[in-house]
Symmetry: none
Subunit: 213 residues, 4 copies
DNA sequence: GATGAATGAGGCTTCATTCAT
DNA sequence: CATGAATGAAGCCTCATTCAT
């Protein structure tokens, strides 16, 4: 779901633009950027080829608009994440679980954007960079959360900050990707899980590892 | 390094084929499958365009050969991994650390293949599938290791098997990708780590999570 | 300056049409007919794309209107040129100089039209023809002037009429083009000349050539 | 006629390239750069569209190659022009007539290139510039010839150097254009003239003007 | 084995023109 | 009168693949 900022009624123009963006993000995610032809998009939208260019300067800028919009919304979810000031370990776990649930929910509601973000690659330089930056910002957001927890003495310093952030984001990105887009082994039931189950199991691994309680 | 099976001396033909494969895997990884033109490959190799087609039926089969060769070698590394029959938790951790180190070393020595495997996407159906299958096989290999450990009572059953395997492979894939290919935040020192450091820190997170010893 | 024929006050409609014509002639001259997009014209005029088609049936007719209007005014200047009946050589030179000055002045005041006329080419058939015809009419006007002078015995018949007319018009067209639109060599001071200087020097060459007095 | 530099036998490659260049220059001259489609060129040559791009990077570079090649050959003709050191007026006239004949002959043998050079306009920036530069160089070549003659006292200094050069080149360019490409008035016999006639009549006007001997 | 010229389908984009409001 | 969204034909160029030599 892509939202066009506007105070009140979306105009006819907004609607058409949104339609094209949604078709684009879906096809980019499903078939890849390069395998998505402008003609595919406009055919699905039921408009002429030229119409696309009334709304977007080029194929590349559609992709960039999609990323830009998704990036902002995703980072907002993460940043309003941990707000906890001190508290017990249990508080931290609960807070983390809530954050993970928010992220998983966002991913579920923006599955094509997330699929693009997590698996997109091999496209033009500018697009590649937009993705990289988004993922870095995401990692930075988590890193500052972890940093705060370490300063409050809530986390041991057996593993260093950068590594922890990298491990944590790896975990989240990987599990979201598997949950929503696969690849998943034949008889795995991963795809059936709810947001809450995903959050609960992930947070347990996050804090306690394989040996966890 | 791509190896052509042949009983003895590699022939002239093998050498040229290997050269083309190596150039291809590097470019596929660096620029993506679709952004790699046959003309790029042959130019870099210093041969004529037509020569490529003497060695490969099509662009697609080069990719498939690359995946096939890498898949076999990677799975071998993983499968000869845990061999431990029972033993203490410490034994399990040590075994796991050794396995991780093997995987990291393999990734380092086959960085273009790994980059393709972990970040490749958006290419033709057949190639997409080959990657998916490889990653599933990888997850299955880990799953059977975890299963054995759970049967031996070495791991609590607070998290179910599939989820555990998914989380574990997410962790490994994500951290390898960040370590070798990025994206990595500006002042992260991740890229400088040795195989052994990576293995030690990852295994700690694997077993004990963020709160780990 | 393009003038729309109308008995009294120019209406709002005339003004808008004039504005569009002026923008069009300027851009046609500066960038060429084909490089001038309707969207460029309407953007510069600050109106919508569709508005253009309320005033003109097509892009081509704008060009034709421009040529038509310019052609009439230019020919009028030339035709009211030599009126001299007999007289001395000096009279002829003076008359010719006055005519040249008129032409140069017209060119200065209608520089975009003149640029189009003298350098325009490569556009659609109809437009090409309109230009050709205009230039032929121009040459015919000069030819009849020369003819009269030859009949009156004021010019020797060493060079034939057609050739003389062609040479004369070549001279005028070429020098106007260089004076107003270039290309002009780096340190040439041609562009700074006034109408009167241009006329004086050109008429001297016209009558006496390189060796002239 | 476009010539590819090569020591001996033109290769198959040279022949094809020459063929495409010749078709291109002809169509550019006849219909204009923008009205010439790559498909027109390749159809006329009887090859596939893609073949064009085996020889030229783009439509623009064909035009530039054409100009470059023509420019060099034209300037060579002009520069080896006046060689006369002093001498009588008659020598100067004779020399000039020979030079004009050379230029006219070149124009006749390279009519499409000349048509492009003299009437081409309205195309892409780079092409426009290439033409401008060529014409400036041409004027410079004439200017240095005139300058020498003035230094030797063979020409009066009633008209200044720049103006003289501009007038002279206007004359030549204009008369060549009319002779070979028109526009020419209905019953003009200009087009039938031989190189020698053209040179004789032009040189007379050049030195003596309308009143000339 | 190897070359490099040739092919041709197909993609992205432009832009004059039309049309409902 | 005016708007601006929509159209669709067409052009340039790319590139995997083929093929004669």
């Amino acid at each position: 779901m892509i939202i066009i900022a506007s105070m009140n009624q979306p105009t006819q123009r907004d609607l058409r633009k949104t339609q094209l963006l949604e078709i684009a993000v879906e096809r980019f995610a499903k078939y890849g950027y390069q395998n998505t032809k402008i003609s595919d998009i406009v055919n699905q939208a039921g408009v002429a080829q030229g119409t696309f260019y009334w709304y977007f300067k080029s194929k590349e800028v559609v992709a960039l608009e999609i990323i830009q919009s998704g990036r902002e919304r995703l980072l907002e979810v993460i940043r309003k994440g941990y707000r906890s000031e001190g508290g017990s370990v249990q508080d931290m776990v609960t807070g983390s679980q809530r954050l993970l649930a928010d992220i998983f929910r966002f991913a579920q509601e923006n599955r094509y954007f997330m699929e693009l973000l997590l698996t997109g690659n091999g496209e033009e330089e500018a697009i590649r960079n937009a993705f990289r930056e988004t993922r870095i910002e995401m990692e930075e957001a988590f890193k500052s959360n972890i940093e705060r927890a370490m300063e409050l003495g809530m986390l041991p310093d057996t593993i260093d900050l950068h590594m922890r952030a990298a491990l944590l984001v790896s975990l989240i990105e990987g599990i979201v990707a598997r949950w929503l887009f696969g690849p998943v082994p034949p008889n795995s039931d991963l795809a059936e899980r709810t947001v809450e189950q995903m959050a609960a199991e992930t947070v347990r691994f996050e804090f306690f590892g394989l040996l966890g309680i």
